[in-house]
Structures are given as structure tokens and as C-alpha cells.
Amino acid sequence: MKPQRNDNAASSSPAPLKTLGHSTPRIDGVERVTGRAKYTGDVQLPGMLYARVLRSPHPHARIKSIDVSKARALAGVKAVITHENGQVVWGAGSVAGGTQYNDEIKKITKQRRYTFNNPVRFVGDPVAAVAAVNRHVAEEALQLIAVDYEVLPFVLEPEDALKPDAPKIWPEGNLALNARNEAQPNTQRRGDVAQSLKTSPHVFEDRYSTSFVHNAQMEPRAAVAHWEGDKLTVYTPTGGIANCHHDIARDLGIPDEKVRVVCQYMGGNFGNKNQNQDADLIAAVLAKQAGAPVKLEMSRKEDFIGMHGRWPTVQYYTVGVDNDATLTSLKLRGYSGMGPYRKNSGAMGGLELYKCPNVESVISPVYTNRTVSGNFRGPEFPQGFFGAQSMIDDVAYKMKMDPVEFVIKNMSRMSRDEVPYTNYSLDECIRRGAAQFDWKARWRPQPGSDPGPKKRGAGFAMMIFRSGLGQSSAVMHLDSKGQYTLFVGVTDVGAGAKTTMNLIAAEALDVPLSKVTVVWGDTDRCPYSVGESGSRTTIMTGYAVVQAAADIKKQIAEKGLPAGDAVLIASATPSPRLEGKVRSSYGAHFVEVEVDTELGGVHITKYTTVHDSGRIMNPLTAVSQIQGAAIQGIGQALHENLVYDARSGQPLSAGYYFDRVPTHQDAPTIEVTFIESDDGYGPFGAKSMGEAGIILSPAAIANAIFNAIGRRMKDLPITRDKILGALA
């Protein structure tokens, strides 16, 4: 769909540019629609072997012995590795405090994860791996490995895991250690919540919870490792070739320059892939031992249980309100289920959205014997925003106010109530969204008042998402024919980074798009890029492109155009900083649902979004990002859950069918409006985009369901059975 532009919006609307801001099809569109784009699984090397991984069938067990002799004897098997002969520390697999991208913390991390762990701590923990002449032989060999397990007690729920008699997943206990290896929850305090709750005339309490949602990118995990002498090349789906490259070198104990990582096309990212994975390391060790290239492929079920997804949460809120509907206190006690290893923070966003003098947030990242949690698109926000914005929505109704008015009265217009933003447009996002959605007409002042059995209602949610600055690099060449070559270490995970970098370069150089050739996705050819995480690539690498273009223009002015075989070369590694300000993107989603009160189904009848992501580089791909993110959020709100059987500890829904990701028929038309701004930072004012669209979607949908049926749905996903239960 065509995005609506801010024709009559804020005075900060930036002046139009020549190349940026116009809908431009991707420069690699032909590759994408002809099957010519090469993904990791498409890589074929001469003499390549196929690898398969044997995984723990138990949620928690000690390996007493492993007998691989029969597997090794099978014709066609070239290498078998286990914790006894193929052990490597996987630094990114578990890191104190969930602090990725920090070698020092990885070094001191006590609760380490290895490529093969003993004890095994979740169903799917790798136990052994085989490389063989083809995948059928590799699979057959797995069946011949005999493992003697001592089965240990397990725990699945974070609150249960903190009880004194819970099975200990780590010697230090089940509260995950922070970046200083201390067992302390993440605590933030402002003012005096305890005192304020005593004196507030209205106090509300509630519990919200959210499920484990798998990234479920379409490309199942694969890795191809190839040693040429002491140089290792790894083809792998990573959102950050530079970080992945450094991680592999560190974990294998070889110099960075002896590793090359290649990832040009990647079948979906959605978080926690800006580092290496155990599959990369296992493939590298197998390839070394077998003396041949190895392609490791994961099945879809292995990807669901062996990789990572959004951490499930339990959230207890206490909210104090004055008689004039002003928030006085916000308190959150939260628990995040991290699985048995610490990949990321386990944080929950939400309370920072509100202006409130007394705030206390105590969040415990907890180990469980489920699969591992990690960053999934907007890591801490969709689940935290669902809890916080459902809670505040509920308070608004209880204070007899329109939730939009209550929020506008109580929202924070400074970062954490303290630091100013570089620009601020959240009020405008909400006002524009409410007008376009026709909030006054669609919102029911009396929830559940439609005569039914199909009842409609409307809900909304808002979001602020970080858009900080940071270091990244770009290199640019100009030849005597006037052709520029741009070297950037981006991966095209789906957001269109390659096209965006081409657009930014063309704009900065004032040349047509075709005058710039982009080289990307290969650490031997491209300089450092921050990686596709945190919605940072456009801001950081894009800014480096602008700087490299400025350098080459300066060189042209000084030396003239290159002649003959001469080439002008420019590079830039800017580290821009914000002084005393915070930079954010903003957004508001308004949703109308129709709930079938007899069958429990939720049908989205209208979905309106308004986003400020700064200046829009390419409206065509920007709309794709917001629409896709919102629909992913619908999956999290209504369907997706990696369900575990409480008695056996077995995952029951590890696949697309039972996990129930959204299909064509679940996807409503997502209306997209951008409020554009240029705050003077980033490339031409671009801000974060990719994660922005998902993080308010579950909250908006849940609030709409309340408005439709008058029952507050407090546990994601909001499946039919829960709706019927609430109405019973």
C-alpha cells in the first residue's frame, strides 16, 4: 500500500530530497524473485559433507557415557564429535548479564555454555554431531550413538525455579548472574514507591504473563564451514558478519584474520543473530576433523527448540493514582524465563512510558529447563508493553476515563522523566492515529456493550524505541569511468539494508542509483558494520556512508577525477555522540477487533499505525517493515506459544503448524502513516524502524479485546479457549 505522508504535519517536516524519500524497488529485486539470491543452504562446495546434531531428549540430565563407535564405523561417516572430543566455549551462547559484544565479560562469565554441555539442560541441548557423505547417512549415524543419561529433576516456570526446593540448574542457583557474576535482580528505583502507595487514594494491582515466541524465520539454521590451510570460511545466516566473525575467532582461539564470514542473503533475522551460533562452531570443528567442507543443517523442529525466541514473562504491577487521575506510583515485580543459558537481558520495557514520581522495577531473569530465550525483534518491549499498557488501560477504565485521554495526561515527554529527546512527536502520533482511525466512533465507552454474539471494540498502544548513534564503517572507491563502489559490512536480512545503503550513497554523492555498486556481506571485503540488531544499521552504517561520500567528494574537489587505472579511495568510521539528549522513534497503533463470543475467535477489522522513524529513506520498504512487524505482533498477541508439557518437560508445539504463526488469512490490511522528522542526527535524519512496528501490537490488540468483550485478557497469547474461559 502507499504510505500516507505528513502533508499537514509538524513544522519539523524535512524538505524533500532527490533520491531518498521516494519509493524505490530493491536493487536486488530480480535476484529475489528468480531464485538466484544465494542463501547459506544453497552453498555447495566440492567434496562437501553433511552434518547433523544429536540433541538431548531430556529437559535436564547428566551424560554418564556416550558410545559413538557404531556411528563412526558406519560407511560414509567422516567425523563424530561430542563433549569429549569437540568441546568449544560458545561465548555468545551464555554471557554474564546477557551482555553481548563484550569480550571482557565473556571472559569472566561463570555460567558458560559450550558447543556440547554436560549436564544437558533443555530438550534440544546438543549432545553430539556427525559429518557424513550425505544427509541420509548422517541421520542414520545419529541413531547409532548410544548415550547413557542420568535423568535429573527439571523446572519450567521462572517463579517455580526461584523456590528454595527447585532443582538447581546451575550451582549458583536459578537467578541468572549479572555482568559482575552476582545473583541480583535488575532493579531500578525513583522516588519512594512504598510511601506513595500508602498515601495514594486509588491503588490497583494485577498480574500479566506472556509466552515464549520463537523467531521462526523461514530459513532454518544452517552453517557451511570450509578450512583452506589455517583459514576458516563460514557461510552462515548472521545479521552481523563482523560480530559473528570475531565471535568465531575468539571461541576457536584463532586470530580474527584467519576467519572469513559470508552472509549476503538471509532468510529472516528478527533478533539475536548479530553474533555467532553453536552451529557455526560445530560445523567448523567437524570440518577440521573431517578435512573437508561441512554443511550443517537444522530441521525445523531443531530450529524451534535449539535456537532462541522471546523470553516469556510474569509481571506483577501495582499502580497508585490520585483523585485527579494522575499517576503517583508504578511498581513492577517481574520474572523472565531465560532457559538454562543467558543470551540476553531478560528486561521488560513499559514503565518508562509514563510520567510518575515514584517508580520501582525489580526484574529477575531466571533459569529454567526450557529452550533458550534471546532477543526477538524489540527484545524487552512487546511483552513488557503488553503488561504495562494493559495495566494502565485497565486503570483508565477504572478511573472512568477514555484510555487515550488518560495516557495523554500521564505520558512522559522526557526520557525516563529526566532527559530531553532530540525531537518528540508521540503526542502527534497518538492524535493523528486517533483521528485516522476514528477512535471516538469505534471505541465503546461501555466495554462489551455490543449486543453480540460478535462484539467489536477498539484499543490503542504507544511506543518509544531507542534510536541512538554509534560507530560503524564504510569504504568507497571511485574509478575513472565515474563508477563508485561502496563496501559496507551489512547483511540483507530482509529489511533491505543493501538498497538503503545504495540510496544513501546516491543521495550523498548526488549521482543516480546505478552509479554506485554495493559490495556487502563478506568480512574479507567489507569493513566493520554494527550488524542487523537494534534497528541500527541505517542510522550507524548509513551515517558512515554519508561521511565516506563527503570524503570522496572532497578528494574530487582537491585532486579531480581519477584517470586511467587510478582509483580514489575514501573511508569513514564516525562515532557520533549525543550530548545530553536521547534519540528515539515513536509510534501509535489503533486496532479494532471483532470477537466471536460463541467461538472465541478474534478478527481484526481495522489496524491503523502512525510512526515517526525520522526521515523515511525508502517509503516502499519502510511500509513493508511496519506492516510485517505489526502482523508478527498479531501472532504474538493471538497465537504463538512454544508450549511445554509440565510433566515430561517436552516441547509440544515446536513447528509452524502447532506454534501457529500468522498466515495470509490472519493478516489484516495494516494502514501506515509516517510523521517524518529530521533532528539533525543520523543519515539525513533517519531513525530506528525495523523493530518499532511490533512492540506495541500485542498491547493494542489486547486493549481492543477488552473494549469489545469487557474482560481483561492477562495472558499471551489470547487464544480462543482463554476468551471463552473469560466469558464463561
Binding site: 531464485g35 544465494k38 523461514m218 532454518p220 481484526i604 510485517g628 513447528g655 495470509h664 490490511t669
Partner: protein
């Protein structure tokens, strides 16, 4: 026929089939890959006759191979993707005698006597199909991994129903998941290619 001789001929055939369409679109197209795997002589095998993207082939396959293994690993047609390998996601959709099928859920031997069309077969005389063109213009592929499956499902739909409505598109393509969730742009692309874009408006995703 001598097995090694047969493999040689089939490898050449695969290379020619790709080369026939590639140069007209993009001179930088990498050369077609050699067949990745050869048949394992120790397992049951069958010789099948199958037409792939218009080229008739007599080819020996292992009985355990799925159709997608034959296409990707033996014929180097890697445009068809494996997303789940168990009939859930549709990334491996190809046309079998014009009907969309999951190539992960069909054995290669079942293709005997059939005609298979893959994404590599959609380009004719160096030109993209109207659907391929519309997919680019409407930014339907994001990561692109589900795209060939979406294209094949849409190709079959338009062959059977040249002017579908948006709900008809969603119903026909419900078996093709897109985790980037670019569903809006996929539906718009199909309607645009069908010339029925004017009917794409209207809220609500369900038929």
C-alpha cells in the same frame, strides 16, 4: 546406460537449462552449480522420466529422495527453498503438472512422468513473468526465503482464476507462510499482476 555417463549428461542439461534464461537478465549471473550430490549406489534407486522447466530428463534418483532434494541437490535448482521439510510452510512449493505441491512432501519417484515447474522456470525469453515484476514493484519479498513458494502458488492461482479477489488470493496462498509477514504486499502484488488491483481495498484479512 553407464551410470557415470548418465550423470554427466544430466549435469550438462541442468547447466543449459539455467544458462538459457540467465544472461538476458543479468550478465553477472554466476555459472550454474555442478550437481551437489550423486546417487548412492548402495541404496534402492529408480530411473524416472520427468520434465523440469520444459526440459525432458531421464534421471536416476534414490528412492528416499524427496522432490525438493532432487531439485536442489541433484539439479542445482536452489531457488526452491526448504523451510520446514514437513509440509507446514510452503517455501518448497513447485508446480506439478500445473498444480502447486509441497516438494518436501513428495518423493522424487512420484514425479515420474510429470512436468515440474520451479521458480527458475518462470522467466521466459529473458523476461520476468508479470507476477515476478509485480513482486519487485510492490516490495513483496522481504528476506525472500518464502518468495519462490509464494510465486509458484500465485502462478497456479492466476492460471486457474485470472482475476481473483483479495480474499481469493489469501485463500489460495494460505499454505505459504511469510515470517517477515509481508502478506499485505504479497496480496497487492498478485492483484496488480492480475490487473485487479482496484479490488484490493477493504479492511479485514479474513475472507
Amino acid at each position: 546406460m553407464d551410470p557415470s555417463r548418465r550423470e554427466f549428461l544430466e549435469g550438462t542439461g541442468a547447466a543449459l537449462a539455467v544458462a538459457a534464461v540467465a544472461p538476458a537478465l543479468d550478465a553477472q549471473t554466476p555459472p550454474a552449480q555442478a550437481p551437489a550430490i550423486s546417487v548412492d549406489p548402495s541404496v534402492p534407486r529408480t530411473i524416472i522420466r520427468v520434465t523440469v522447466n520444459g526440459v525432458v530428463r531421464r534421471i536416476e534418483v534414490e528412492d528416499r529422495w524427496t522432490l525438493v532434494e532432487l531439485l536442489r541437490d541433484r539439479l542445482a535448482l536452489t531457488g526452491t527453498k526448504i523451510g520446514c521439510d514437513r509440509g507446514e510452510c510452503g517455501a518448497c512449493t513447485v508446480l506439478m503438472d500445473g498444480k502447486p505441491v509441497y516438494s518436501c512432501s513428495n518423493l522424487a519417484v512420484w514425479a515420474d512422468g510429470k512436468s515440474i515447474t520451479t521458480v527458475e522456470g518462470l522467466v521466459t525469453n529473458g523476461r520476468l513473468s508479470p507476477l515476478q515484476q509485480a513482486f519487485i514493484e510492490h516490495d513483496a519479498p522481504q528476506c525472500g526465503f518464502c518468495t519462490s513458494g509464494q510465486l509458484m502458488a500465485a502462478t497456479a492461482l492466476l492460471a486457474a482464476n485470472p482475476r481473483p479477489t483479495a480474499p481469493e488470493v489469501r485463500a489460495a496462498m494460505v499454505g505459504n507462510l511469510c515470517r517477515c509477514s509481508g502478506y499485505n504486499h504479497y496480496v497487492e502484488s498478485v492483484l496488480a499482476a492480475a490487473g485487479s488491483g482496484a479490488r484490493s481495498t477493504g479492511a479485514g484479512g479474513q475472507p
